[in-house]
């Protein structure tokens, strides 16, 4: 059986969640691997939520927010951008496959883009395979 990645998506209420909605109402298909969690703003997404999702069995985490300049709260996504940029660096340093974690922008009118971003990310995670926990890394050694 082919590996089906489990993906958690944190979508901002104002743009990306509406974008996902639009993808649905427009009948654009996208991989069913994503489990969407609606958040008020991409700026609300603490990277530890991603770590928690990984800990609970997610293979990939994607955060989608309004395009820079379009944030409903003016600046939430700028903060998200800084945080998640450095969080990426951190994952890289720990050897934790930064490709499993992604921040992108999807507006309320970009239903097609939402589907595209999710499809692309799903494929990327699928290629990586299941996330490996440190226990497995150690087990491997023996």
């Amino acid at each position: 059986m082919e590996f089906e990645p489990r993906i958690v998506g944190f979508l901002c209420n104002w743009c990306s969640y509406a974008g996902a909605d639009l993808a649905g109402t427009s009948r654009i298909s996208y991989p069913p691997n994503i489990r969407i969690i609606r958040v008020p703003c991409s700026g609300r997404v603490d990277p530890m939520l991603a770590m928690k999702a990984f800990g609970e069995g997610a293979d990939g985490v994607i955060v989608l927010g309004c395009h820079p300049g379009d944030c409903h709260y003016s600046e939430g996504n700028y903060h998200a951008r800084r945080r998640l940029h450095l969080f990426h660096r951190l994952l890289e340093f720990f050897g934790l496959e930064k490709e499993r974690f992604r921040l992108d922008w999807v507006s309320a009118s970009e239903g097609a883009r939402f589907a595209e971003v999710v499809a692309h990310f799903t494929e990327q995670v699928r290629r990586l395979g299941p996330r490996i926990r440190p226990e497995a890394v150690l087990e491997d050694e023996r």
Binding site: G55, Y78, F94, G95, P134
Partner: protein, 279 residues
């Protein structure tokens, strides 16, 4: 080195005049090491000392003098090396400590022999002080990344993951690295929150990984690179490596070093519209 004599004299004056109620410094330990001392009296001030064994970051103890229940805590004096003074700046920036309630006794620091963090540190004079003791030695030329960090960065991601998994297996989550860190002042650490439970009580590699990623993330742009976390680790886990690396990334990306002053907003407090275009 007569920093000790000066220190004792100043501490006595400060206590005697009532300018401060406590002087946080170092005293001789029992087995050849030094240890922190919160001196209250002129007699106790006579036990203070400063020499090259004084590794502890005493800014940590300023957190014990935060206002409680509307009551103004006593003014305190504290002995600060350059990295410790950076910690004071961050605590002031983050509204944990009021600068005017602290009398900063800065000490010129030649680096603590054998301390990991000091190997590549070029700071010799504290960035903030009310009085400076000792004569600053000439700052060495910046020597780039420490060897162990460079070695780790040269590894493949898989090898790095293995490296950390090995260490996380050993971690007992005694939280010494957190407790010793002046920047880790949360009333309830997310690692110990019960509701919702962010982290399981299990002391096991996955949970330990979560904890270390968490700690590294929470200190981005805030770590003042004193390296106390690694020094106190009983299990020999190189926890300072990731802090040091992230400090380097912050410096590269935002031209920022935490605690060089108490005004410049830290990277996560601010943003620029035109930056990091590729998310």
């Amino acid at each position: 080195m007569n920093v000790t004599d000066d220190l004792r004299r100043i501490a006595r004056e400060l206590l005697e005049s009532g300018r401060v109620a406590r002087v946080i410094g170092y005293e001789e330990g029992r087995r050849g090491q030094v240890r922190p001392l919160v001196a209250r009296t002129v007699e106790e001030a006579g036990r203070l000392l400063f020499d090259e064994r004084c590794a502890h970051n005493l800014a940590l103890y300023l957190l014990d003098f935060k206002p409680q229940g509307g009551e103004e805590p006593p003014a305190v004096a504290v002995v600060l090396k350059p990295c410790d003074a950076r910690a004071l700046n961050v605590l002031v920036l983050e509204n944990q400590v009021r600068r005017e309630r602290v009398y900063a006794i800065g000490v010129a620091c030649p680096g603590i022999p054998g301390k990991q963090a000091c190997a590549t540190c070029t700071d010799r004079v504290p960035p903030t002080f009310d009085i400076l003791l000792g004569t600053p030695s000439e700052a060495p030329a910046a020597s780039g990344l420490p060897d162990d960090l460079a070695r780790l960065l040269a590894l493949s991601p898989e090898e790095r993951r293995r490296f950390w998994a090995e260490h996380f297996r050993r971690c007992i989550r005694c939280y010494a690295c957190r407790q010793v860190c002046p920047m880790c002042y949360c009333e309830v650490c997310i690692a110990e929150k019960l509701d919702p439970p962010w982290e399981s009580i299990a002391i096991a590699p996955s949970e330990n990984e979560f904890y270390h990623v968490l700690r590294a993330y929470h200190l981005i742009g805030r770590c003042i690179e004193c390296g106390e976390c690694e020094r106190v680790c009983p299990m020999g886990i190189p926890v300072f490596l990731y802090q040091r690396y992230m400090a380097e990334e912050v410096r590269k990306t935002f031209s920022f070093r935490a605690g060089m002053d108490a005004e410049t907003p830290a990277p996560f407090m601010t943003f620029r519209k035109e930056e990091l275009e590729k998310p």
